[in-house]
Symmetry: C2
Subunit: 512 residues, 2 copies
Amino acid sequence: MALSTMIHNHLPTTLSTGVNRISAIHGHQEVVFDLPKTNKTSNRGARRLAESLSNLLHLHIEPPSSRKNLQLSSWDLIDEEKHNTPTTSPKELVADKWRDIHGSMDWDSLLDPLHPWLRREIVKYGEFAQATYDAFDFDSFSEYCGSCRYNRNKLFEKVGLGKNGYKVTKYIYAMSHVEMPQWLERSHLMDTWSKHSNWMGYVAVSDDEETHRIGRRDIVVAWRGTVAPSEWYEDFQRNLEPIGVGDAKVEHGFLSIYTSKNESSRYNKSSASEQVMKEVIKLVQFYQGNGEEVSLTITGHSLGGALALLNAYEAATDLPGLHVSVISFGAPRVGNSAFRDELDELGVKTLRVVVKQDLVPRMPGIVFNESLQRFDDITGTLEWVYTHVGAELRLDVSSSPYLKRGFNPLGFHSLETYLHLVDGFLSTDSTFRSNARRDVSLVNKACDILVDELRIPSCWYQLANKGLVCNEHGRWVKPRREPEDIPSPIGEAHDHNLRIEMQESYQMSYAS
Amino acid sequence: MALSTMIHNHLPTTLSTGVNRISAIHGHQEVVFDLPKTNKTSNRGARRLAESLSNLLHLHIEPPSSRKNLQLSSWDLIDEEKHNTPTTSPKELVADKWRDIHGSMDWDSLLDPLHPWLRREIVKYGEFAQATYDAFDFDSFSEYCGSCRYNRNKLFEKVGLGKNGYKVTKYIYAMSHVEMPQWLERSHLMDTWSKHSNWMGYVAVSDDEETHRIGRRDIVVAWRGTVAPSEWYEDFQRNLEPIGVGDAKVEHGFLSIYTSKNESSRYNKSSASEQVMKEVIKLVQFYQGNGEEVSLTITGHSLGGALALLNAYEAATDLPGLHVSVISFGAPRVGNSAFRDELDELGVKTLRVVVKQDLVPRMPGIVFNESLQRFDDITGTLEWVYTHVGAELRLDVSSSPYLKRGFNPLGFHSLETYLHLVDGFLSTDSTFRSNARRDVSLVNKACDILVDELRIPSCWYQLANKGLVCNEHGRWVKPRREPEDIPSPIGEAHDHNLRIEMQESYQMSYAS
């Protein structure tokens, strides 16, 4: 019997809360495949991924051993202590270091050991990206499915980033002319805010206090990603498209999301590219016009990291002389080596934060072969096609005592896992930072990777009663969204108001 | 190719929120098997159930058709209107009808059409049973997993029954010496409130106002059930045990839960039977001693309905002359015909509320054969063994315009579905009651059976962030349970306090 057949036949599947888990024993180590809850097709894809991976890794798959009762232990003490520690360190003045932090020296000698200033700034930008997940409306019974649950003025406050020193100035929407698996969230309803567009990110700008601390006016673009990109493989294998005027080529699915528009659409009469560039150019001109030093920092996780690179390429081309950097998390390869070389020439500084165990940054490179039964590592043949850019901060799941051992694609790829590992990273030779302060519980928001001893439920980030509330008559109803939080293309187009806001803010800061 | 093989090979499985769904097409009707999220074994069992059933029903299984976008329609209007209607009707005085309501005439001519007084009382008792689910702690990372989340004084208030006119006097705990599949919820932790016992129900008594309305002091016992009893089959086939001194026999799993105790246990030094009977006898003696008329009404859903019958058998035996009635929902058969005959002789009045499509009330009777590949309807051979008792109120899922068509075992068995159908039932010849007021949204609390047009999410009854809350330091932690809500065998044993409470309440009601 062929190994693949044997594995297939013995593959046990069990259900836990919203997650399909496939377990295997590799030596003495339990290997757990956590597959995202999602539609049938992608579930099949995810299972194939698990099967193929286990085949590649020569795992002998067995039913998981029964869970042992947890011992109360020193974990309790750790727990108690941690509960009363603030989650953030005091902010330091990094005004004279910002160029280093953003890659002027290509992060040389700053990554290993990781410089504390840099660690803090990486987490800051990662939390900008995390906000795009936390505020996203995934409710397929809502007419606002695929939008942001809050208007731009409330976003940071609602996701716990009210004190981050930035202000959102613009929301970005995207659509795609090509079928890119699993990026678009769609409502089941007929009458929806938009049929083809999703909220895809936002532009924000540092306020005066933060600007003072970080040494320049910082414009941030945060791009939303997707949680389960296992089905990008096939798309990757086929499709590279030219970008710019040279030999640079990039994956056509990412490019389509970045550039697609449609006259009859409400939110994408202009493309994501046009929306973001219009806003960025306006902000840059405004603040440069006031004599300020300005930087553009683009961030994103997964698909969002890919869009960040496309955005950086365009911004650096259109705004020569502007300091453009990308801090991406778990991003796949995006383009060919000419794309990388052009980014270098344009002066785009890219820091890729990568978890060693995460599969996505290895895409493409590990792909399914045609039989879809096993992985082929075809890095050798694809390397010349898809190339990573910039510097890499490499993290290791096994460095954290809070994370379970075992194979867990969803957990490895989760942005909260990334932020936890950045927070705890000292150097490749050191153990996890003992005074790391970021809340460990956050890691399990949308996956199941924290050790059981912490007693944090898996996938705990959820609304009470899925958003239903009991009204004064005792009926459970879905409340209407606040009018101010209902997406509106007109509201988004009101740049006029923003300009006035900026002027006022600027005048006030100089008057005071 | 044999049909069963073909079905097995083509059986598609998809994941939705916490529910494994298997779909089949039967003619033009989609048939949906909703399988409970649970452990691997039971999931296999549930799938076998679905497979075997589809075989039995000669279904040709195909992948489900893709979901169509929902049209906004008259549902919106219905929705709007319903949102502003109170969920309860004004309470009427039924003091002179209570014996009829509780079966003195064996509910002759009260069930079809269903008398409005009776409908209201059936829903009242059903909500007592529903409270045992709503307040149960299912969190396997909690040291209180398997207990009630609130102490007895807060229970009704917390589950929205604060105005029901009853007061909980005692919690009941159960354990089992025999392995009964899927009844015990266990914590993963080592240090837990109890290793082998679960909160299994409670005793309550009507307050003076309700006593006045319903014409007698009503003692209620509500028994908790289980949600997914598909694995009882095998147990049923083998094991009948004697109860009482005659020929009566009952299923040994149910009897074990009702009667098991263990000296070294904290909550079951006495059995559920001993706990409930001690409390009931005390209450009966107290109120009868004060010259009041007293009734005992025992309710429960599923397994809880089976325990209700055992409890009624014991109460009627030990308290001759007491009016004992059972109102059960979706209960399986419990014992043999001698058991039924003895219940009759003891004067126990039983109203079984049964949804026609629910499989559980047909248990045993439809069981797996040994190959576990298909159903055998062995009613013919088992009928003499297991016999239903009392009168039946038969409901039909297809009578409600709010419920999806298609096979949905979890939805059919759910107590909230039962209560919805009771609320809408006029007679077998009538359509759904147009002025039914019970909140339809409740039906989807723990299943997925409401039509999509209502836009009520499936399985929506859930805690915000699975019970984690953000503390003052910005950390997400599981709050400790309020000391007053921590189960305590000592607290439960403090009958002394209760007696004082009763005395005071009694004296006050006579003083006023």
